[in-house]
């Protein structure tokens, strides 16, 4: 291939000078991508630490933790974690993980870095907007952090923030004052940032593709980021609108979500005419698509990596694209499956049930296609591939429980129990997190010019997958037994106290998994400096990011004008000289 010394080029896209322009307020999609990834890393550390605290209380509800009392004097009066502090920790954990880790890293993080390169663009369509989106996200995170330290305590209404609890203000109890207001503000700001990012991704994908990069030559990662962005563009405004209404209910005395006749803490409320269920419709109209915003990039990443390391074209590329679209579309008409017990009409529940089961079909198709891609492959055992295979496993394990939850007759038993907690941690939490691990190991050599340690990666993989399955498979049984979620302890009910040994087991497994993440952290920071040097095409892969230097120059392609001649997954083409053909390669001796 051509050399690509990037000392001089005529695109007028000069690299910025100075630390601030280069690394802080950068408009370079690659820098912004890495910024998002580090923001996610920070969120992950915080979110994990919070989950460890929850496991402490659940396993040993009355026990004293004097050390934690030093750090959180109000949260641990006398060394014992208070129930409202438990709920605050739960709320921040959920919010930070769903929004600031799982929504940002797979889409805004890796998407930002890789998407423009994979379609042969020199940057995003709107680089300044891109920078603004990132810093808006940072503001949202800072507002969320602030919500923990205001008077009245951190918010306690969960990541779903159902009114009236979230709308009434501090009269309804601790943690519902200023902290809740800031929580809503944070989410509203986050919505704005996500909207702008989505717009940018869509425009970039549609307008900035290199010559020859027709839609059906795009890597599945690009399809996934593009579809997730389209879903985000349509879903986030609804949450933004809902959030504003909720703020008005809190601050301006409106009653969008507040019914008449409430008596709260002995006080007769003057609200009238609103409906608490309206919030659930708005929230889940956003919330179900949101879970696909989170998982679609993971699906793209998994497809990409499984194809690369099986040394085979992805099976049924067209069906994969169609499935991504079907999931994105049908995902908008199933939100009612979160509301079977809400008081929504049972007839409507029935319709949502059948629609929900329909969305299982394209999801299953993706699994079949991943399996078929492995068949006949020359599978390479990289850490990245292991994580991708873990993704497939989680997607299956979490998906099959969806069959139960999708049926209202069964779901009114399981709803708001630990069965749902197990379902969504496996299919959304673990699957998406493993797609992040896979992507990190896969693209790290492109981003930093060095491999991450394969050995450390594999050690981390094995401890993590064993550990998380030891947490979440047993957790289904808590749900089976009818243990409600969001309980600060299980000791107040006869039928729940029996479950304490299982709860303690889960906590221990969680501590092991939490500790194992230090291996990953160490691997990241060690490899940035001391990792093994990687060549441009670190994995003998086919897509455009492997054509350019590692790390890529400011404008990605330097002097080269990328031209695309073929599909994204040309592995093991009979007669070709290598078992992979880059998308930019025109001639293949003996091939096609």
């Amino acid at each position: 291939m051509s050399s690509h010394a990037s000392t001089s080029h005529s695109t007028g896209h000069a690299a910025p000078q100075g630390f601030i322009r280069k690394y802080v307020f950068s408009t370079d999609h690659k820098v912004i991508g890495i910024q998002y990834i580090f923001l996610g890393l920070f969120s992950a550390i915080l979110g994990t630490a919070l989950s460890m605290m929850m496991r402490l209380r659940l396993a040993w509800p009355g026990s004293q933790f004097p050390l934690l009392e030093h750090i959180f004097p109000t949260g641990f009066p006398g060394g014992v974690m208070s129930p409202e502090f438990y709920l605050a920790v739960l709320t921040i954990h959920g919010t930070i993980m769903v929004f600031f880790l799982l929504t940002t890293v797979p889409l805004s993080g890796f998407g930002n870095y890789i998407l423009p390169i994979q379609i042969g663009a020199r940057d995003m369509a709107f680089p300044v907007l891109n920078m603004l989106s990132y810093w808006t996200t940072v503001v949202a995170l800072m507002v969320l952090m602030a919500s923990m330290f205001v008077e009245g305590g951190a918010p306690i209404s969960g990541w779903t923030a159902y009114p009236p609890l979230s709308a009434l203000g501090k009269i309804a109890g601790p943690g519902l004052g200023a902290g809740q207001t800031l929580w809503i503000a944070s989410i509203a700001i986050f919505c704005l940032a996500s909207l702008l990012t989505a717009l940018n991704f869509i425009t970039t994908t549609l307008n900035m593709r290199a010559a020859g990069m027709s839609l059906m030559r795009m890597p599945l990662t690009v399809w996934a980021w593009f579809t997730a962005s389209t879903v985000a563009l349509l879903a986030f405004p609804v949450l933004l609108g809902g959030g504003i209404l909720l703020l008005l209910d809190r601050l301006a005395g409106t009653s969008f979500f507040l019914a008449s006749g409430m008596v709260v803490s002995g006080k007769v409320m003057t609200n009238s005419g609103g409906s608490p269920i309206l919030w659930q419709h708005l929230f889940w109209f956003f919330g179900h698509p949101e879970v696909y915003i989170i998982i679609l990039p993971g699906m793209g990443i998994t497809s990409h990596i499984i194809s690369t390391f099986s040394r085979k074209p992805i099976f049924a590329y067209k069906a994969m694209v169609a499935a991504i679209f079907a999931i994105g579309f049908i995902g908008f008409i199933v939100w009612g499956h979160h509301m079977f017990a809400s008081g929504m009409s049972p007839l409507v529940g029935m319709v949502f049930s059948v629609l929900t089961l329909t969305v299982g079909v394209p999801s299953a198709i993706k699994v079949f296609n991943w399996l078929a891609t492995l068949w006949g492959g020359h599978i390479r055992c990289t850490a990245s591939m292991l994580y991708a295979l873990g993704f497939v496993s989680f997607f299956v394990t979490g998906g099959v429980t969806g069959l139960l939850l999708a049926q209202p007759a069964i779901d009114v038993y399981f709803h708001d129990t630990y069965f749902v907690v197990a379902h969504f941690h496996i299919i959304m939490g673990l699957a998406a997190v493993f797609s992040i691990f896979a992507a990190l190991h896969f693209w790290f050599p492109k981003m930093f010019g060095r491999y991450m340690s394969e050995t450390l990666g594999k050690v981390h993989f094995w401890i993590t997958i064993t550990g998380v399955y030891s947490i979440f498979i047993p957790m289904h049984f808590l749900g089976m037994a009818g243990a409600p979620r969001r309980y600060a302890q299980f000791t107040e009910f006869a039928y729940l106290s029996k479950l304490q040994p299982l709860t303690i087991h889960i906590s221990w497994a969680a501590f092991v998994v939490g500790a194992a993440q230090l291996i990953l952290l160490f691997n990241i920071f060690r490899s940035m400096r001391w990792g093994k040097r990687a060549p441009d095409n670190a994995w003998e892969a086919t897509t455009l990011e492997w054509v350019i230097p590692s790390p890529p120059p400011h404008d990605n392609f330097g002097d080269m004008e990328p031209v695309v001649y073929r599909g994204p997954y040309e592995f093991s083409v009979p007669g070709a000289k290598a078992d992979f053909i880059l998308q930019t390669e025109q001639e293949v001796e003996g091939g096609e």
């Binding site: 590329y317 017990a341 929900t356 139960l404 009114v412 009818g482 009979p574 078992d579």
Partner: protein, 273 residues
């Protein structure tokens, strides 16, 4: 040729073993199930449990088969092999087949489940059903029986007075209310008699969850949501709150007593004084 660090063979075979072990261990745990749903005491719950078991079997089969195949493919194609990977990337026959089969199973399951649901939720309660009102509040369950006149008296928010024990705001100006019987955190019902609950909340969301009856229903301020069921076994059970309602959510508990007719009448009488 391969530039990347690579450890083929053994680790992929180990992963294959892991997936097989996971499938077998999980399936065994669900079959042996040392922990399971509490006993069912509701007429409708029989259908629910049946549908649940059927769905679990299908879901379990899908889970086991997928992990078996995943393991098998890793075992078979994970080692060092000569030549090139198979250049095989589509098969319309197979794709059509698995799409149709999955669609039929999933949608079939949905329709079947909908029948169970419809029987329970799209029917009116039998004419002889006894109606009890449930009102959630932070952090207690209030119950109200209409008394001999069979009618609930009016309630008004401004009549609520916790110190007087008037948790639901019974209006003493309404004669229909004078014989209403109210209890807090304990509900009793007669066995084998259809019961209709009207579920309400006076402040935030709660959810009325009786595991042995196999359902929960959110309590929503401004709404009175009807549900009906028939309990078939006497005994003492528990009601939990299943919707986050504030800091004491985890202890919002009520006793749920299913009694013979005689016991129930005696109980109700003792409460009406």
């Amino acid at each position: 040729m391969l530039l990347a660090p690579d450890l083929p063979g053994p680790l992929l075979k180990l992963l294959a073993l892991f997936f097989w072990a996971l499938a077998i261990a999980t399936a065994t745990a669900f079959i042996v199930h040392p922990i399971w749903l509490p006993e069912n005491i509701s007429l409708n719950g029989v259908d629910v449990d049946q549908q649940l078991n059927l769905t679990l079997c299908i879901a379990g089969a899908a889970f086991v088969i997928a992990h078996m195949l995943l393991g098998l493919f890793l075992w078979r194609f994970g080692g060092k092999q000569a030549g090139r990977a198979l250049y095989w990337h589509e098969s319309h026959r197979m794709e059509t087949a698995w799409t149709v089969v999955t669609a039929v199973i999933f949608v079939g399951l949905g329709l079947q489940g909908s029948r169970v649901w419809a029987r329970e939720y799209l029917t009116d309660p039998p004419a002889n059903a006894m109606t009890i009102e449930v009102t959630g509040q932070q952090f207690a369950w209030n119950f109200r029986y209409p008394g001999p006149d069979g009618k609930f008296g009016r309630t008004r928010p401004d009549k609520v007075d916790d110190s007087e024990g008037n948790y639901i705001g019974l209006d003493d100006g309404d004669p229909a209310g004078t014989d209403d019987i109210t209890t807090q955190n304990v509900i009793a019902i007669p066995v084998n008699r259809p019961i209709q609950l009207i579920i309400r909340s006076r402040d935030v969301l709660h959810s009325f969850f009786v595991p042995v009856l196999r359902f929960k229903q959110d309590a929503v301020p401004g709404m009175g949501i009807p549900v009906h069921f028939t309990a078939t076994k006497t005994g003492e059970y528990e009601v939990a709150c299943a919707e986050l309602c504030g800091m004491q959510h985890y202890k919002m508990r009520a006793r749920f007593l299913v009694m013979t007719d005689t016991d129930f009448n005696a109980w109700l009488k003792s409460r009406s004084q």
